[in-house]
Structures are given as C-alpha cells and as structure tokens.
Subunit: 339 residues, 2 copies
DNA sequence: ATAATTAGAGTAAACGTTTACTAAGGGAAG
DNA sequence: CTTCCCTTAGTAAACGTTTACTCTAATTAT
C-alpha cells in the first residue's frame, strides 16, 4: 500500500536489496566500502523500483543545494536572454540548477527575492545590472551568500563582477565614427546615472571627441532610457531641434533601432546620409534593416564566466577576481565613411 | 562560537525566547496555540537574531517545495522571454519559485532535466513547445508530476495545455491578406511537422485560400525553420525562382523580418509592392521597419495562465482544463490593400 | 601462530523543520 | 465542589538523506 502511494526511498531500496541504507547511500555517491556484487544487487533494485534520490533531503543533510539564484530586471527583453542561456548551460554542466528572479522594471522585488533565495539556501547568486545608490549591494553583501555581479559594480563592497570596460568600448565606438570622417556626432544615452550603461558610455564618447579636438555640443546629447521607444523619442528631439549631425552613437541597440526607425520614417537614408552605431549586439541588431553596426558584449560568454566564477567561489570559499570581458565592434551596414 | 559560524535555527530562536520549537513554528506558520505575549517575545527574538527559515528543511517535512520547473528549448530567443516573465510574475505572487531549464535547440537535455526536476521534487512543471513524436510526453506523464504544456499538445496523454488556436489564427492572418485584395500569397513556414507552429499554420493558410477559391501554388510554399536566417533563405528562394506574389504570410515574426530584410536589399518596397504578415508579435515586430503587421499570441498572459492552471492542479490534485487563448491581428505597416 | 590491518558492511545520530500527541492550568457548567 | 473543556504550551517522532562510528571476518605481517 505504502509502496504504491509513495515514491520509494533509499530505505525501500536497501530492504529490497537486502543491505543497509548506508551501503545504498555509499553506492549512490560513488564512495567505497562495498563489493562489486552488492553494488550490482543494489543497482538492480534501484532500477526495478525506479528509485530517484530525494535531493531535498540530501540538501538538508549536506547543507548545499547546488542551486544558484539569478536576479534580473524585467526591462531590456532582448538583452538578458543570451546571458541567461550562458548561465544556464554552464550551471547545468556543473550540476547546478538556476532559479530565476525577475526583479521588476524598478527593482521593486529585489529585497523580496533576496529573502526568498536566502531561505531557499541557494549556494550562490548572480545579479545583473543592479543599480547603484539604492543600497542593494549592501543587502547582498550582508546575506554572505557568494555572489557575482554582471554588468554592474558595487561601490562600497567587494563583490566580484564581470563586465566589459564600457568606457573603452564607448570610446572605441565613437572612434569608429570619427575614423570614418564624422565630426558631428550625436549621443543617444539611456539613464544618465546608470553606473554601467549611463555614465561610462557618455564618458567614452566625450573622451574620444576630446582627443580628436572635436568640440562637444550639448544639444547633440540626449538622455532618455534604454528602450526602442526612447530611441524614437531621442531621435525625434534631435530632428525637431534641427540639429545637424552626420552620425549617432546610441548607448544600446534598442535605442539605435528606434533612431533607425525614425530615420526611415523621415526619409533619412542610413548609412548614406546618417551613420549609426549601437551597443550590445542583441539580435535586434542583426534583424533590423539595414543591419546595425554595433559594439558587441559577449553576453553568452559573460553568463558562462559568471557561473564559473561563482562556482569557484562557492567551492573554495574565496571571492574570485573580477573579470573584464573583451568587446568587439561588429561592422554591419549602418556606418559609412563621410564623403 | 557555534552561533557565530552557523545561521540561527528555530531551536536558537526558541531558546532565546524561552519557549519550545513547536511554539516558534506555530507562530511562524500563523497557526494558533499561543498568547499574544509569547508571540511578541518570539518575534523579537526572530528579529534580533535575524532568523531566516530554512526552507529546505521545511520542504522535506511538508513534502512540497513550492517550486515549479520550466522547460524551454533554446531556439527562438525573442519568443520565450515574455512567456517567462508571465510565468515568473504569477509564480512569485503565489510564493512559488521557478527553476529554468534550457533543453537545448534539439531538446537533447530534456530527459536530463526531467530527472533533475523530479529529484528536486518540484511541485509542477511547465513545458513549452515540446515536439511531438519523440516520446517526451510519455516521460512527462510518467513522472506523475503535475504539468501543463504551453504552445504544444500531447497526442497520447491527457496533459492540459495552453495555446492559441493556430489553425484559426493562421486562417485569420491569411484572410487579412485576402481581404486586402491579395490573391498571390506566399507562405514561409518553419519546421513542417511541428505540431503547433508547422502544420496548423500551413493548414490555416490553405483553408483560407480554399474558401476563397484561390488555387494553391506549391512553389509559393517554402518550409525552413523558425529563425531570421530562415526567413532570409525562404525569401531568396522565392525571388530566385522568379515567383510572382503580392503578399507573404510568415509562420513567425523572425521569418517575416528576415523576408522584410531581403525585400529591402532587393529594393522591393514594403508594403507598396509587397505585403507581409507575421506571427507571434515578438518585439522584433515592433522594432523592424516598417513595423510588422502580425498575429499576436498573448505570450505574457499565456505564461500567467499556465502557472495559475498548474498551481490549481497542484493544490487540488486534479488535472485542470486546457485553455485556448485568443489571438489578435496587430495591424502595423506591412500590409496594404492591393491596388 | 598471533597480532595488526583492512575490506565490507551495519547502526544510529544528525540536518532543521512540522505536527500529532500530551499535559497543565483556568474557567464554566453542573 | 467536582467535572469538563478550552487555551497555551511542550515532547518527541517523523521527513529521506549522509556519515561518523562500530563491528566482523578475512587477509597480511611478524
């Protein structure tokens, strides 16, 4: 009766194989202390009963859950999926499971999720794009759960991170435009005080201009947010104000594609009359027309490295070292030398 | 010493508050059997020690994990994120966590993940776009873990599902083109024998043609897969073979956008010289130029409903009823009446 | 031949909860 | 004044593992 209703436990297996639970456990875990013969007996019983380990019980005992929590904001739909794929693939290879947490577009649910993850005894956490200044980094640090940040940093706490050098990458993107002869370059930025995608990208842009002695024109710099709609908005502002510019550096691909779309609407030919370079190399960059020249963050690989770093830190007990990932300029069809 | 190294347990709280663990547990769970006074004492202790429940232990005892597993194929990056958002939001509201499983683009990891999820004692599973004919539905059924399918069905087992009526939706999409005066309509399909996005969508297309007595021209029907590249490919075939057609119905947005991109390349004006309608209403549809007319699946809502259905089935022990979601034609700018 | 080691296995105590059962004390009902 | 019940609480047995100990018998070393 009981056997029909409940799943078989290690006890049932032991009984059926005529050994003790300890022996079964040892076999299950590949430890030593049994003969080849008993091993076969036990394995036979396991198969016959279709026994499956209860990992919950195991986790309780070994005080490890082989689970990592991932915190992501909801916005920027095209950005995170690649990252997530990288995270999940490497996690699975290392026999970790990942529980996903959508913190909402304003990060409202962050503390909520942090509590849940702690209660669920996750072995580690990966936190992406966490905004600075709201004290979340302290909360994370205080949990004393091994963590790694992706595409963000903590100002006050030593939490290892993985990101590209946004300043240099933006510098390179701007330089790419300059080297194509452009001098009047507009900047479509996202949230101005975003630690990662805001400030450093603007700085990189400014630095490139400075180095080439191109005067900065404030009216060519528009800050909105990071969505397609914001790109539309920024571009329209530029156009309404009758600014003259031959190129645009957009702080993310969605913005760039938004600008691209307005350009088409207005009959501005890209890249003949206007060059545009984006940032992120999301799949929108490949799918838009003309395909977008952009700076690529190796999102999938960043996910992979994040997990590797995290697992290392879980298993050694030491914090790992932060990693700066290489960026790359992907030349497609939206940048053309100025004639 | 111990107190410093290890997290406080319910035992420590009980000791500190001078009560038994049973009382603490009852307070934690909002049961009855204690005075207001003890409750306050205990809550004070909880706060002072910064006690957090160990959910793993709890799960072991109550034999429920409040966890649901989600199985997704890797392909179709833009499709699943919305679904996932819906799933996660509702799950969180109901205090469930979701563990994400990427089964790979060929579903290679399905059995692997199914085992992991069972061992982790998930309360339920949501499986998306599972292909038929490979026997995975049997495996799922055999786990006897409550499950719901999204955008797929099982031929042989009674597993509740959530999907739109692909046949009717495709019929409607094709009809939309017909009503705009088109008679030479090409079909760019994905995998031909996909139970959901393959066969029914083709059938819907054929049915609409039949009903309006438009002869089917096999050479206008191209089957590839579901990616942007496939859209490019399919469109190029059509062009190479010098087919004449005034409209395209694409089985997914990525295909449609691929076709759109080729059209631009070749100087074919959309929608003036060619109308295109897609399927899915992914955000690519909004971001491409011109913005894509497409049939919308309410992805986010489907995720929501899937979780609701699953939770209901977990908590009542009965299988829920399958749900057919409404589709909607989103008119943007790629379809125009034939002059 | 005896002592020391070892291989193969079992016993039972954890891990941190929940919960069925038990018990004491106080108030209401008879 | 007893009897009964309710409230407030405690005791201890699970849940399904892992693992430190213990034990026996066989093998090896002396």
């Amino acid at each position: 009766m009981k056997a029909i209703i409940n799943k078989p436990t290690i006890k049932d297996v032991a009984q059926k194989a005529g050994v003790s639970v300890a022996t079964v456990s040892r076999i299950l875990n590949g430890l030593e202390g049994y003969s080849e013969e008993t091993k076969e007996k036990v394995n036979k019983a396991i198969i016959e009963m279709n026994y499956q380990r209860n990992e919950i019980a195991r986790h309780l005992k070994i005080k490890r859950t082989h689970t990592i929590g991932v915190l992501l904001p909801t916005r920027g739909t095209s950005f995170y999926i690649e990252l997530l794929n990288g995270i999940q693939d490497v996690a699975h290879k290392n026999k970790y499971s990942v529980v996903n947490c959508n913190t909402g577009d304003q990060w409202q649910l962050t503390n909520d999720y942090l509590r849940v993850l702690a209660e669920r005894q996750v072995d580690g956490m990966i936190i992406c794009s966490l905004p600075a200044g709201l004290g979340y980094d302290k909360t994370i640090y205080d949990t004393s759960i091994p963590s790694v940040l992706v595409s963000t940093v903590s100002d006050h706490f030593q939490i290892p991170y993985i990101k590209v050098d946004d300043f240099r990458a933006s510098y390179a993107a701007t330089l790419h435009l300059i080297q194509n002869g452009h001098r009047q370059i507009a900047f479509l930025g996202g949230d101005k005080d975003d630690r990662i995608a805001g400030k450093p990208r603007l700085q990189g842009y400014l630095e490139a201009l400075r180095e080439y002695q191109i005067p900065v024109k404030e009216s060519l710099i528009k800050h909105t947010h990071f969505s397609f709609k914001d790109g539309v908005l920024g571009m329209k502002q530029l156009l309404n104000e009758k600014e003259t510019f031959t190129a645009i550096f957009a702080a993310c691909d969605d913005i760039a594609v938004g600008a691209l779309s307005v350009a088409y609407h207005e009959g501005i030919k890209v890249p003949d009359e206007l060059s545009i370079i984006g940032y992120d190399n999301t799949n929108a960059a490949e799918m838009c027309y003309p395909p977008l020249t952009t700076v690529a963050q190796p999102l999938y690989q960043m996910g992979e490295r994040a997990v590797e770093l995290l697992i290392q830190s879980i298993e050694t007990g030491k914090k790992g070292e932060s990693i700066i990932m290489p960026y790359e300029i992907i030349e497609r069809k939206t940048v053309k030398p100025l004639v």
